[in-house]
């Protein structure tokens, strides 16, 4: 418990920072007074309270300080999680099963199913009215409730994939796969890289691409949760979507380097560097474009719905994060639900993320911008990842398969057969 002592000694030794003389309400590892009688551990991502963006961090500090003032006697012990989702998830589930997990935690929506299956989440039913529950988008509601109708988490924001374009180079938004290829090839003629998207070993690769499979009506798993994407009708739809990506790279509409792109930031960097005029990215990147590019350049960028095989066959992957309670203590579950509501409303509004309740779009001015019309229209075709524990392995195999096909190491059919075999073997062992 002498950590603050070490911190201050160190601060004095290194920088002589005087700020620690007076107790801070927000530090690296807590919010609220150090001597509060009740403590809640909260594991959060590094994108808000501890964001490297100062404005974001300050805004969330204020939100949290208000929150603590409304809940006297409480302290939140914060734990940062790293960006490695799979490792974090494995660690948190392991900790929760050992009874050492955080009381309350942010969980990626795609991983919620695993937590539900592991039986480590506490219901939050009493803290949400029926109207509030009904206000969630249907796919969100499905994701957060269990078979008995318990609310096991609060999906506090959602996200989706869109096509970004530099309107100066590509004035009209491509609506179909063919139009995207043509438009991308035209940008290549003008010296750009072509269309960029995630193609490396990362969740984004599988998730962004899945929109193309879903747009045709493809199913990853059946009603019983068994993987079926390689069978029957799904097989052909899957191969169609793989060939679409293969063709983009082979024709030069997309550069070969897409197989080394593993973060959305690579696309943002290319946009900022002015080397691409088209890329597939998340809705949150709209705000990043505004803050990264000079105003004049940023104004040229627009988002549109992801192209489909035909103009009226569209889909987009929807993700986002949830907040869930891992504690059994009812008081702590209540606090966790309250934190979740903090993120659901004002937290979202500040970051311009997409809330999961329809009413919030009316409530906050943030959502008046034209881009939100594009996003909410696209959300109509939103598809969440299947809430099954085999999904991470399906995604892993899709990443491998796309990488092999686009780098010319395998043909779509053989790559799909290998993926099917691996997924079936993994599923049989779950």
């Amino acid at each position: 418990m002498n950590r603050p002592l070490i911190v201050s000694a160190l601060a004095l030794a290194i920088g002589g920072a005087p700020a620690l003389a007076q107790e801070d309400m927000v530090t690296r590892d807590r919010v609220g007074p150090a001597d509060a009688e009740n403590a809640l551990t909260f594991r959060l991502t590094a994108y808000d309270l501890y964001s490297s963006d100062e404005a974001t961090a300050t805004a969330f500090e204020e939100l949290f300080i208000d929150f603590i003032e409304d809940n006297p006697g409480w302290r939140i012990d914060t734990q940062l999680q790293t960006g490695n989702l799979n490792q974090e998830q494995a660690r948190m589930i392991e900790q929760a099963q050992a009874g050492r997990g955080p009381d309350c935690a942010m969980v990626d929506s795609s991983q919620l199913a695993t937590y539900k299956a592991a039986g480590v989440l506490s219901p939050m039913n009493e803290y949400f009215t029926e109207d509030e529950v009904a206000d969630f988008f249907p796919y969100v509601r499905d994701g957060i409730t269990d078979d008995a109708g318990n609310i096991l988490a609060v999906w506090w924001f959602t996200d989706l994939r869109v096509l970004y374009r530099n309107t100066e180079v590509v004035p009209e938004a491509p609506q179909t796969w063919e139009e995207l290829k043509t438009a991308a090839l035209e940008t290549v003629d003008e010296g750009y890289e072509g269309v960029l998207f995630n193609g490396g070993r990362t969740e984004g690769t599988a998730f962004d691409w899945l929109a193309n499979f879903w747009a045709q009506g493809g199913q990853l798993v059946n009603e019983a949760g068994e993987p079926v994407f390689y069978e029957g009708e799904n097989r052909e739809l899957f191969l169609e979507a793989v060939r679409y990506y293969e063709d983009l790279v082979e024709s030069g509409a997309a550069p070969a380097r897409v197989t080394s792109i593993t973060t959305y930031d690579d696309m943002l960097a290319a946009a900022a560097a002015g080397t691409t005029a088209l890329f597939v990215g998340g809705n949150w990147m709209y705000a990043q474009i505004q803050s990264t590019l000079p105003e004049e350049e940023a104004a040229k960028w627009e988002a549109s719905e992801l192209p489909g095989p035909t103009a009226d066959q569209r889909a987009t992957g929807t993700g986002g994060w949830t907040i869930a309670a891992l504690t059994d203590d009812p008081e702590k579950v209540r606090m966790c639900a309250a934190i979740a509501k903090l993120y659901l409303g004002p937290g979202n509004a500040f970051q311009a993320l997409l809330p999961t309740q329809a009413s919030l779009y009316e409530e906050y001015d943030t959502y008046a911008g034209p881009e939100f019309e594009v996003f909410s229209a696209a959300l109509e075709n939103g598809q969440a990842r299947p809430g099954v524990a085999i999904y991470p392995e399906i995604s892993n195999q899709i990443q491998i398969l796309l990488g092999e096909v686009m780098s010319g190491a395998a043909e779509p059919e053989e790559a799909l057969d290998a993926a099917a075999e691996a997924v079936e073997a993994a599923y049989a062992r779950q």
Binding site: R3, I6, V7, L10, A11, I14, G15, A17, T27, R28, D29, R43, T45, A46, Y47, Y50, S51, S52, D77, T78, Q79, L80, Q81, T82, G83, N84, Q87, R91, E94, Q95, A98, R100, P102, Y264, D265, D266, L268, A269, A272, A273, G274, Q288, S291, T292, P294
Partner: protein, 280 residues
């Protein structure tokens, strides 16, 4: 003299080989430095802005004013040094036994010690996690240090054995005649004579510990206890295209203190190695 002309050619050849090698090791660091003093706009201009037009120290400012970073560095220092000292202290007697004694099963035991290191950390970490949990050592620097020590022990045993082997037996025999017991002989004669080897083993351990990632990542979930390696990983995850320059600055902040320490220690070791203590 012919000798000197030949060595002059040799010197030229030496430099001809040293320079490209040095470049290979230097360029990535230069690139890192270059990125760390760029503004976000210049990051996207690639090699043409190796020397930025408007170099800035603001990135370092932002990293260093983040109180977390100083704490992470301190945690790293603490874990790396305690772990290294522990590994050397616990390995030294065993290395001495392997170097000086003959006993049944010695070769097998030595291979065995090396062999345990061949299990990939990530799978033994999960049994270990459950185990440390039962012992109440999770989330503590003490428990983490114990794992650092264990991680360092196998290599340290081998390294120290090699340096004890180099200490002439005659000196120890003389000490034995003077009536010194075996442990005193080890402490007063062998260990000081093998000091350079012990120092390099210590430094090796510190460096390996400095890069340790999986152990602290699994053992420590409170960010206030993280060493810099975990913090950097987290920072890389939390930064985006607009903060590549911050990540570069953070990487440098993580590396520079150790570099300074090693520079100092490096001279010490070289002096010890060249002082002739070993050559008798």
């Amino acid at each position: 003299m012919i000798q000197s002309r030949r060595s002059r050619i040799g010197n030229a050849l030496t430099y001809a080989a040293v320079i490209p090698l040095a470049a290979f090791f230097l360029i990535p660091v230069i690139w890192l430095v270059s990125l760390s003093v760029r503004t976000p706009q210049e990051v996207f201009l690639g090699a043409s802005r190796l020397i930025p037009e408007a170099p800035t120290l603001a990135n370092f400012g932002q990293v260093l004013t983040d109180g977390g970073f100083r704490l992470y560095l301190w945690n790293s220092v603490k874990l790396a040094f305690l772990g290294a000292a522990g590994a050397v202290a616990f390995a030294a007697p065993a290395s001495y036994a392997f170097s000086r004694m003959t006993f049944r099963g010695k070769p097998a035991l030595m291979m065995g010690i090396l062999a345990v290191q061949m299990v990939s950390g990530l799978v033994i970490l999960i049994p270990l996690y459950r185990y440390m949990d039962r012992l109440g050592l999770l989330e503590t620097h003490f428990g983490t240090t114990l794992l650092y020590i264990s991680a360092g022990i196998p290599v340290t045993v081998w390294l120290l054995k090699t340096s004890f082997d180099a200490v002439p037996m005659e000196l120890e025999e003389a000490a034995a005649i003077d009536g010194l017991g075996r442990f005193e002989t080890f402490l007063r004669i062998t260990l000081p004579l093998a000091a350079p080897g012990v120092a390099s083993a210590l430094i090796l351990n510190v460096i390996l510990n400095w890069s340790q990632f999986l152990i602290p990542f699994v053992m420590l979930s409170e960010s206030a206890k993280w060493p810099i390696s975990v913090a950097i990983f987290n920072y890389a995850g939390a930064t985006n295209a607009t903060t590549t320059q911050l990540l570069a600055a953070a990487c440098l902040v993580a590396v520079v203190p150790t570099l300074i320490v090693f520079l100092a220690l490096q001279r010490l070791i070289v002096r010890a190695l060249t002082s002739g203590a070993l050559k008798g």
